[in-house]
Amino acid sequence: MVLERNLMKGNEALAEAAIRAGCRGFFGYPITPQTELSAYMAKKMAKAGGVFLQAESEIAAINMVLGAAASGVRAMTSSSSPGVSLKAEGISYMAGSDLPCVIINVQRGGPGLGGIQPSQADYWQATRAMGHGDFHILVYAPCSVQEMVDMVSKAFDTADKYRMPAMILADGLLGQMMEPVTFPEIKAKQPEKPWAANGHGGKRNHNIINSLYLKPEVLQKSVLERFERYEKVKMEESDAESYLADDAEIVVVAYGATARVAKSAVNSARAAGIKAGLLRPKTLWPFPEKQLKEACKNAKAVLCVEMSMGQMVDDVKLALSCSKPVHFFGRTGGVVPKPSEILEEIKKIGGAR
């Protein structure tokens, strides 16, 4: 069967993909540039036998997700930067309670109210400190509407597998644009959740979903156990696309919408005789260290391009053990970098060699 390619907005594709991935609880609060996601859910979720509820706030939304997820249901919420900040406590609770869920962040310019144009300035928040305490969440960085679709279902599966929250870190550009997209059939069965708090029916001990451990040693044990799982995640789940990197002397590192622009620039650079390549992280946590190292094996310099003031740079340097010069080119506040600007930087670095 050939799957039909239809044009779809990124935000709507995320919603449709979630429904197909078995999401049966969506709780959101409107915010530009991701409102279409809720609107789509409002139309379609009930028909799929699931729940769409507009919460009174982002905080209520993430806690409704917590409740649904605690009862074993695949649940999701979606927001944009300021709204995601409000979910910090709730996400930390979900991580501390070992609950899976999917969180969408269609990033916009910050800080504060900022603007509503595309941004990647929540990288640190997503990869380092989505809330207080020692924990991580899975972070997927799609670069096309199709990849949004694919990653939503991947995110649900992986979140369930490791019992941890997963985030799709998108941006206003990806959320608002239409591109051709197909929806592959989902075959994987959802895992059993014997830990869920959904009524023991007299058949088992009561389940408790909780993140409180008053004894430090016990809390420490639970954190250490979780970090062991994280090690497994790092081994198995990091992902990246390598493009023309094999012989590249300059490797551009960029993710999400920025990687599209960067790819154009890399192509232009090649056309101009510069051996440029691209490494596009598809997971931001875990960061694809191995893939980056491999991609940079012939590199003389690395150029990190972001729609932020340079938040991924640390990860690039650390992955390379600071062994190569890492340059940075960024735009922020909603400005999308142009291919020509990136090309310029590539040339500069190439020349500076």
Partner: protein, 250 residues
């Protein structure tokens, strides 16, 4: 020899961490008695607050979820909406429900979420050592009102049942107390009605229980009961503030 009174089955047989004479324990038991009588332990999911009752998950025999401070009604909404045939209740203190959780309380009420909210009003933040709560009485000395709560400065206490009864989604809003055996019996009836409302899909039911905090009030357990009677009940009159009854006036 017949047993006239014993621990309800769904109240697990473990010691609690509550202070001597703290009436949280009585309220726990009443809920469990209702759960046992209705035979719904296996179909019930309870949601704990952050407050002295944060560890109630160790005491209730049904499945339990620990919610962030104030967010129990949102958590309960998430559970109930995706599990409409299960019973879901929250157990919340006055700091939890009426301060940080105000939005979640008001909105789960106005949405008519088909859940039960047990609201334990002890006019203070017990867990954190006795600070002012939204329900702290005028003049009451707490850690953060060392000169007594002055409504002109710290504002007026909130009467939660009165406020929520203005909302169309509320099926039951009733205030009870646990200072005496007759009041305790009434409290149990209210809790039972709340769970029956949920069974009958009537919507949001809140039972506000006037409770004590001997430790932070600086009173003996017996004196604390007296304060509840003498100071709290006049400010927070017991009674039914809203009752959609048999659903005919929906």
């Amino acid at each position: 020899m017949a047993v006239v009174f014993q621990r309800p089955k769904s109240l697990l047989d473990v010691p609690t961490h509550y202070c001597p004479g703290c009436t949280h324990g009585i309220i726990h038991r009443l809920i469990c008695e209702v759960i046992d009588e209705m035979g719904i332990e296996g179909d019930t999911i309870g949601v704990c607050p952050v407050g002295c009752s944060v560890m109630a998950y160790d005491y209730f025999g049904c499945d339990m979820i620990e919610a962030p401070h104030g967010r129990a009604p949102a958590v309960a909404t998430g559970v109930k909406r995706t599990n409409p045939d299960k019973f879901v209740f929250t157990y919340q203190g006055d700091g939890d429900l009426a301060a940080i959780g105000t939005a979640e309380t008001v909105h789960s009420a106005t949405r008519g979420e088909n859940i039960v909210v047990i609201f334990v009003n002890n006019t203070t933040y017990g867990m954190t050592g006795g600070q002012m709560a939204p329900t702290t009485l005028p003049g009451q000395v707490t850690q953060t009102t060392p000169f007594g709560r002055d409504p002109k400065v710290q504002g007026y206490p909130i009467r939660v049942c009165e406020m929520l009864s203005t909302l169309d989604g509320v099926a039951l809003a009733q205030r009870v107390a646990v200072d005496s055996v007759p009041h305790i019996r009434e409290a149990k009836k209210a809790i039972r009605k709340a769970f029956e409302n949920q069974r009958d899909k009537k919507g949001f039911s809140i039972v506000e229980v006037l409770s004590t905090c001997p430790t932070n009030w600086g009173l003996s357990p017996v004196e604390a009961l007296e304060r509840l009677r003498k100071d709290m009940i006049p400010y927070y009159p017991l009674g039914v503030y809203k009752d959609k009854g048999d659903g005919k006036n929906d």
